[in-house]
């Protein structure tokens, strides 16, 4: 593959979806093998791309072969892909998570949506293509097109679930469309003022023409920020997320919860770092009482506390996890806006680790639902005895969420807390510690119930959600579900052990951007 590796990352799922459209409709048994093949090819291409990036720095791929003007030094006239270690890491996460969830989906998709399996896998592959395309592109408008693909596919992947899923998908459609429109308006404003769409070029024109102070660029930055915040469910713009993720089919939740919000956070970072530049994002605006950085970090602290408190009050495992995601979004947004290198590093590292923590917990909850037919916390009574391996993996995911070593959750939180102290944002540090404490309370409550079963009072039957599916429960956990779960759990520890290497990769990308203000 070599030089063509970046495009294969996106093309493999696209052609996989086409193949399903041609043969999968008639031969339903081929849908899963095609999906697995396409995602494996995409993962191989991602690894190849990442190795190239490590070996020689940024990897640029020109779509249509349109070279930049003036022998490569001028503006870009086509669309280009540009991979650095940060986007490379996010691409690796997308490829790995989507492949694991595809393996996991073997029995689930047939159980959840028996009559629309080919359509499900087509949408699944196209969602992966959309997410990967958003991450890899260096073109602000190309990003929007791929954003449309990933949004449309996620609406449909949620709505194929139960009837309540249809309503939550509708809420998501409304919110998601508003978010995407804000992003598009922002890009439109940028284009009016700069006349280019390539991210590097937009930044160069803003600097060259001294546009940073102009009202329309400032409004554009606000619009883009609002757009991605809605899409990532940043508190208080989170209302669409809990129902959408908890009523969706098992595999949809397991695919979207780790990936969609994280990719949006990556895009926010890309906008801050590449399009507007850190100088613009973090500098105090003259004549404005508010400092952007302070304001956003305060908002994130509120998001962390609110997400944690709401998570604590939920009696349903899936709902609880979705509120934890909202708190975690606050971690990453806050880290990115702390205005120091450590915070940015911590935020990117947390994208990676949070994706796998969320994956591990969602996969474990999926197994629990498949085995017990419900996801109420009360239903976990004595589960350690019934399914020890699943609960062990769940425990690793939970410990990582709480932030205990040697899991990666500890290290990413460590960097974020350190960055918060360095920046003097004590409320953010406090919110992080509060959230860890809350997660500890939430998960130890579950452990207690699952490890020390209480006598079930027959007069009080376990409360079943009438809409919860599947209604039939499995006797044994199929290996197609157990293996991805265990891989994700082990990955949490591996990511924790190799945290220094990952942080070095992130730091090298931040250094090559070369306009990072002196730390502190």
């Amino acid at each position: 593959m070599g030089e063509q590796a970046p495009i294969v990352i996106v093309l493999a799922p696209l052609f996989g979806a086409l193949l399903i459209a041609f043969v999968g409709i008639r031969f339903k048994a081929l849908c899963l093998p095609v999906t697995l093949g396409a995602l494996s090819l995409s993962l191989a291409a991602t690894v190849e791309t990442f190795r190239t990036v490590l070996a020689r720095g940024e990897f640029v791929y020109l779509l249509g072969g349109w070279k930049r003007l003036q022998e490569g030094d001028g503006i870009s006239i086509g669309i280009e892909y540009r991979v650095d270690t940060i986007s490379g890491l996010v691409l690796l996460v997308i490829a790995a998570v989507s492949l694991l969830v595809a393996i996991y989906s073997r029995t689930r998709v047939v159980a959840d949506t028996p009559d629309r399996v080919p359509y499900y896998y087509m949408l699944y592959l196209l969602l992966v293509a959309g997410l990967a395309g958003m991450t890899i592109t260096n073109d602000a408008f190309n990003l929007y097109v791929l954003l449309e693909i990933s949004s449309l596919t996620s609406y449909a992947l949620i709505a194929v679930g139960s009837r309540r899923a249809v309503l939550s998908a509708f809420n998501y459609v409304i919110m998601g469309t508003i978010g995407a429109s804000f992003y598009l308006l922002g890009i439109g404003y940028l284009y009016i003022k700069t006349g280019v769409l390539n991210m590097q070029d937009i930044h160069a024109v803003i600097i060259a023409n001294d546009l940073a102070e102009s009202p329309s660029i400032r409004v554009a930055s606000v619009l883009i920020l609002m757009g991605v915040w809605i899409k990532m469910a940043f508190f208080p713009l989170h209302a669409w997320l809990p129902n959408a993720y908890s009523y969706s089919p098992t595999t949809t939740g397991a695919l979207m919860a780790p990936l969609v919000t994280k990719v949006m956070i990556y895009i926010m970072i890309r906008m801050m770092v590449t399009v507007f530049g850190l100088d613009y994002s973090f500098r105090a605006t003259p004549g404005m009482p508010l400092h952007w950085s302070n304001l956003v970090v305060t908002l994130s602290s509120i998001a962390i506390v609110a997400g944690s408190v709401m998570a604590l009050s939920r009696r349903d495992l899936k709902k609880m996890l979705t509120y934890i995601i909202i708190a975690e979004v606050g971690y990453m947004v806050g880290g990115a806006w702390l205005a120091n290198e450590k915070g940015m590093t911590g935020a990117v590292y947390h994208i990676v680790s949070d994706a796998f923590m969320t994956l591990c917990l969602f996969l474990a909850v999926g197994v629990i639902i498949a085995r017990t037919g419900q996801s109420r916390i009360e239903g976990m009574n004595g589960l350690f005895k019934k399914m020890p391996l699943t609960m062990a993996a769940f425990t690793i995911g939970a410990l990582s969420m709480i932030g205990l070593p040697p899991t990666c959750g500890f290290f990413s939180k460590w960097y974020l807390v350190g960055a918060g102290i360095e920046a003097g944002q004590w409320h953010y540090v406090g919110a992080l510690l509060f959230s860890s404490l809350m997660n500890a309370v939430i998960f130890f409550r579950i452990f207690e119930m699952a490890y020390f079963p209480k006598e079930v009072n027959e007069a009080e039957p376990a409360c079943f959600d009438p809409d919860a599916h599947p209604l039939e429960t499995l006797e044994k956990t199929p290996s197609s579900m157990a293996i991805p779960l265990w891989i994700s759990a082990v990955t949490l520890i591996v990511l924790g052990v190799f945290n220094y290497t990952i942080v070095q990769w992130i730091a090298s990308a931040l250094q090559s951007l070369n306009f990072f203000p002196a730390a502190g």
Binding site: R116, L123, L126, A129, A156, I192, K193, V219
Partner: protein, 252 residues
């Protein structure tokens, strides 16, 4: 709550108005979007680089052809999503309320069907013209495809969805939509297999009897045709599924 929403709308509107004052004059030749380096390059070099007289088509299908490929995929996804969410495969699995009572008259109305029979062939030929003439005048795959799709919708309106589905069955719709994407991305893939980057059309001159610049122009027609396939199929598919609540029976 209503007050809060009103405040949010007013605030966003004020923000947008505030930014508008900063815009360059409408249609000004000096504005970055009109006279910037990028637009100037497109306007000056488009004939030399692609042989296409219509600059918009060249930007859409070549310079930014990758965007357009995914725009077509967006259309495809919309079609798939509607089927995945709405389609009732006969077992009532979606649990939507039943379709409206079949309010079709016994016989389709004579005047309506005859008028449609007259209009549809003209409409389809004009659609093909719009598609093929996209290089020289406003038009192209999206516009032509929408017209073609509309002609099938017209058949459904006049004779019922089932009559139209006899011409374009559900299976054919899906194949047609996927074929459109395949034509577009396949053109790109051929470029890749010939050793150049994805969608770098000029390398197609090795298999087409033209020079590299003219190959770009021809390739744009291929990809526009692909777009038209997908748009036609998805337009009709969305109509048929929405009009019959996913049953593809009876309906408007």
């Amino acid at each position: 709550m209503k007050g809060l929403a009103l405040f949010a709308v007013a605030f966003t509107g004020a923000l947008l108005l505030y930014a508008t004052g900063d815009f360059p004059d409408w249609g000004s030749l000096d504005s970055p979007a009109n006279g910037g380096e990028l637009s100037t390059h497109y306007i000056k070099e488009v004939r030399k680089e692609t042989e296409v007289p219509n600059i918009v088509t060249a930007v859409l299908a070549d310079y930014r052809g990758f965007d357009t490929m995914f725009e077509t995929v967006v259309v495809f996804v919309a079609g798939i999503a509607i089927i995945a969410v709405l389609r009732d495969f006969g077992n009532g699995s979606r649990g939507y309320p039943p379709a409206l009572a079949n309010n079709l008259p016994e016989e389709p109305d004579l005047i309506v069907t005859q008028t449609c029979n007259l209009v549809i062939p003209v409409l389809q030929i004009f659609a093909l013209y719009v598609l093929a003439h996209g290089h020289h005048s406003p038009g192209g795959g999206f516009q032509g495809g929408v017209m073609l799709g509309a002609s099938y919708i017209l058949i459904a309106l006049a004779n019922g969805v089932e009559a139209a589905m006899k011409i374009l069955s559900e299976r054919k719709i899906l194949l047609m939509a996927a074929t459109g994407i395949l034509i577009y991305s396949g053109t790109g893939l051929v470029c890749l297999l010939l050793g150049e980057n994805f969608l770098d059309y000029h390398v197609l001159s090795r298999i087409l009897p033209t020079d590299p610049i003219m190959a770009r122009s021809h390739a744009m027609l291929f990809v526009e045709t692909g777009v038209a396939f997908t748009v036609t199929a998805v337009m009709f598919s969305i109509y048929a599924n929405l009009a019959t609540r996913g049953t593809l029976k009876g309906g408007l």
